[in-house]
Amino acid sequence: MNLTEVKNGEKAVIVRIEGDRRYLSRITSIGLNVGCRIEMLQNVKKKPLLIYGRDTMIALNRKESERIQVEVGA
């Protein structure tokens, strides 16, 4: 499943990230790479996602986040 399908309060691990070089380097440099554990803080329609990973609260564009594949509860 992709990151936008994770519900509030659920924990997940990033298993795959797709996209062009720009996106990959932007998303990984803020700390979200494959294997990173995250927790969904807020996932509401039409708003950027709010997640918690590597001790940091991070806001992510919703559309782009569909490129991040995760496994919940791993």
């Binding site: 990959l24 932007r26 990984t28 700390g31 790479n33 990173c36 806001a59 559309k63």
Partner: protein, 669 residues
């Protein structure tokens, strides 16, 4: 040892970089632009043990990839041969993530040291960091500071001095070992030879090969200049390198950090409201109103002094008459020197207040939340969500939006925010325009005029954002939000106060001379011995009347339009001078002569309605005022961009007037 040294501060956003820069350099700062780039260049100086250090505050970014001009400037700078030391900053409370900058730097041959900030926050989170172990593993000095407290900088200064003397470089072997264990290993090794063609001692082939693996455009361009053709990179390359970097960081921290996880609430009660899907906007508007009110209160004393200055100083100027100074010269002094002094004092008062209030909001960590809340709307016009904050300030005063735009971290978007915010009618406009509109069109018509202005404003904002965005934030460089929401901090009042005062002084020095010169020019343009008809401005106005009347401006309204660029209040003053003979144009613009009380009514009988509406629109969307121009120049450090924005507003105001004149001409007789 020579007596000057060059050091640079490198760090991610929210790493405390600017705070350290301000603490180190205090008043000795110079802000400009990198030649040929829309990137801000901040340099400062400090002295330690008789050695003068020049510090570059490099633009904050999350990595050294070539995603923006900021990042390209930064990474070229850290590999410069004349640089003595790079201080890499990292937030100790989020060490794993914030060390990514260090990991991306790793390989660069410039001497380096690691500076940890927010150790106190880390401690509260239950993290113990063994600085010595970290230093051994990295091969460079590691120190920690409380960014705003210079008393805690002893280990920083000692480490800096030693690092420059010994020239210690970051040991990147473990990182290279990681990449050689990854799926990208073969490609990495294959790239090394090609990388050697553009390698330098400060930028070795391993670092370049990592960037090639990422498909870094700037490096590939450099290679192709050298005739090295590079097949398209593995799209997953960026994943291999970031993976290698994070594995390196994790292994470093495994040794050096003891983490007694204290569970704390991730989303605090306040954040639930501040980031909530509905409540977020209400919290933001509430805080904006408080900020605007707070800024007005902080600014009030200085603005009061600025406003009172002429009435205090003008009697003094009159005394010059006693020592034989002619009346004409006294008048000149009043209209230029004293007027501009009064204006500049009020202006810096307002800028001080904006810096103070926005400084607190930023320092506390709330600004990032504003970005989140308004991301959806603002990103449509190519701006960050938090750009809304300075724009709203524009309803109070355009100086508020120009100086508030400093919260935007990318230079291009900052200039864009300023350009867009000029279209927001300011408090003075909201006094002048309804006065005129009511006189021409009655109360009901006046309300319609105000609605028209709001409508034009919205279109103007979108159009201006599109036009300026094409150059300053091109569509192909725009990307969705990937932003950290920093933890909340208590504001350091004293530190913010000191910084705001320093900036105020800085603005004062620059702004006074500019405003004085403009006042002098305006004085001569509008000066006349024999009524209004003797002035150069009148001659220009009547000369171009055949053209300007096409857009609905006769020479009278054209002169008022011209004066509106100096101050919005001057519009009524100039009309008063022309139609009610209440004094010369110079005097009514600079406030030396009072505006006739019923000037709006007098004008209403003299100007046809279509012309009046065109005039109202032209004045509203003209250059806001001289102060706005000066503060824009100060904030952008660029005469070029200030002139572009100014020219754009004059042209669009005239264009809007033409449209309004001809369209409304169909309805009014």
């Amino acid at each position: 040892m020579g007596n000057t040294r060059q050091i640079a501060l490198l760090g991610q956003p929210n790493s405390g970089k600017s705070t350290i820069f301000n603490t180190l350099t205090g008043m000795h700062q110079h802000v400009g632009n990198w030649p040929g780039k829309t990137v801000e260049k901040k340099e400062g100086k400090f002295t330690y043990k008789d050695v003068t250090y020049t510090v570059a505050d490099l633009p904050g970014s999350y990595s050294l990839s070539a995603n923006s001009d900021e990042e390209i400037v930064t990474r070229d700078y850290v590999a410069r041969t004349d640089l003595d030391l790079v201080c890499i900053l990292a937030d100790a409370s989020q060490l794993e993530r914030s060390l990514y900058m260090l990991a991306d730097f790793a390989g660069i041959g410039t001497p380096a040291m690691l500076v940890l900030t927010m150790m106190d926050v880390a401690k509260n989170k239950g993290k113990k960091i063994d600085v010595r172990k970290l230093s051994e593993a990295l091969g460079i000095n590691v120190c920690s500071v409380i960014a705003y407290d210079k008393k805690t900088y002893d280990s920083f200064f000692a480490g800096m001095e030693e690092a420059i003397q010994s020239g210690k470089r970051l040991n990147a072997d473990a990182l290279y070992a990681n990449i050689r264990q990854s799926e990208g290993a073969e490609t990495f090794d294959a790239y090394l030879e090609k990388a050697g063609k553009i390698a330098t001692p400060r930028r070795p082939k391993e670092w370049i090969a990592m960037k090639m693996l990422e498909g870094d455009e700037a490096i590939l361009r450099e290679l192709s200049i050298k005739g090295v053709n590079q097949p398209p990179a593995d799209p997953k390359g960026a994943l291999y390198t970031s993976d290698a970097r994070f594995r390196w960081i994790e292994s470093l921290l495994e040794e050096a950090v003891v983490d007694e996880k204290k569970t704390s609430e991730l989303l605090t009660k306040f954040d639930r409201a501040a980031l909530g899907p509905r409540s977020g906007k209400w919290v933001a508007f509430g805080i904006m109103i408080l900020a605007l009110a707070g800024a007005m209160i902080v600014a009030a004393p200085m603005m009061g002094i600025g406003g009172a200055l002429p009435s205090l100083l003008n009697p003094l100027a009159d005394l010059l008459g006693n020592i034989g100074v002619s009346e004409g010269i006294i008048h000149f002094i009043k209209a230029t020197l004293i007027t501009s002094l009064g204006w500049v004092v009020s202006m810096v008062g307002f800028i001080f207040a904006m810096n103070f209030v926005f400084g607190i909001l930023e320092e506390v960590g709330y600004m990032a939340r504003v970005s989140y809340v308004f991301d959806a709307g603002m990103s449509k016009i190519g701006l960050q969500g938090k750009a809304l904050m300075p724009m709203i300030m524009g309803f109070g005063c355009t100086m508020g939006s120009t100086s508030g735009a400093r919260v935007i971290d990318s230079y291009g978007q900052k200039v864009m925010t300023i350009a867009v915010a000029w279209a927001i009618p300011c408090g003075a406009t909201f006094v002048v325009i309804p006065t005129l509109a009511n006189a021409f069109f009655g109360v009901g018509g006046g309300i319609l005029v105000m609605l028209l202005i709001i409508l034009i404003m919205i279109v103007h904002v979108i159009v201006t954002a599109t036009i300026f965005g094409a150059k300053l934030n091109p569509a192909d460089k725009r990307s969705g939000m990937v932003m950290e929401m920093p933890p909340y901090h208590k504001p350091r009042w004293g530190f913010i106060l000191k910084n705001s005062l320093m900036r105020m002084w800085d603005v004062f020095k620059k702004a006074f001379s500019i405003e004085l010169i403009v006042c002098i020019i305006f004085f001569f343009l509008s000066y006349s011995k024999s009524g209004i008809e003797g002035s150069i401005l009148y001659k220009i106005g009547t000369f171009i009347e055949p053209v300007s009347s096409f857009i609905g401006l006769k020479w009278q309204t054209f002169m008022a339009f011209f004066a509106a660029m100096i101050s919005k209040e001057a519009v009524l003053g100039v009309l008063s001078a022309i139609f009610a003979n209440s004094g010369s144009i110079v005097d009514t613009t600079t406030g030396l002569a009072a505006t006739s009380d019923n000037i709006a009514q007098i004008v209403a009988t003299a100007i046809p309605k279509a012309e009046a509406l065109a005039f109202i629109v032209a004045v509203t969307f003209n250059i806001p005022c001289l102060q706005a121009v000066v503060s824009t120049y100060h904030e952008t450090h660029s005469a070029k961009w200030t002139a572009r924005i100014g020219g754009y507003y004059i042209l669009t105001a005239l264009l809007l007037a033409a449209i309004v004149y001809h369209v409304s001409g169909l309805f009014f007789r």
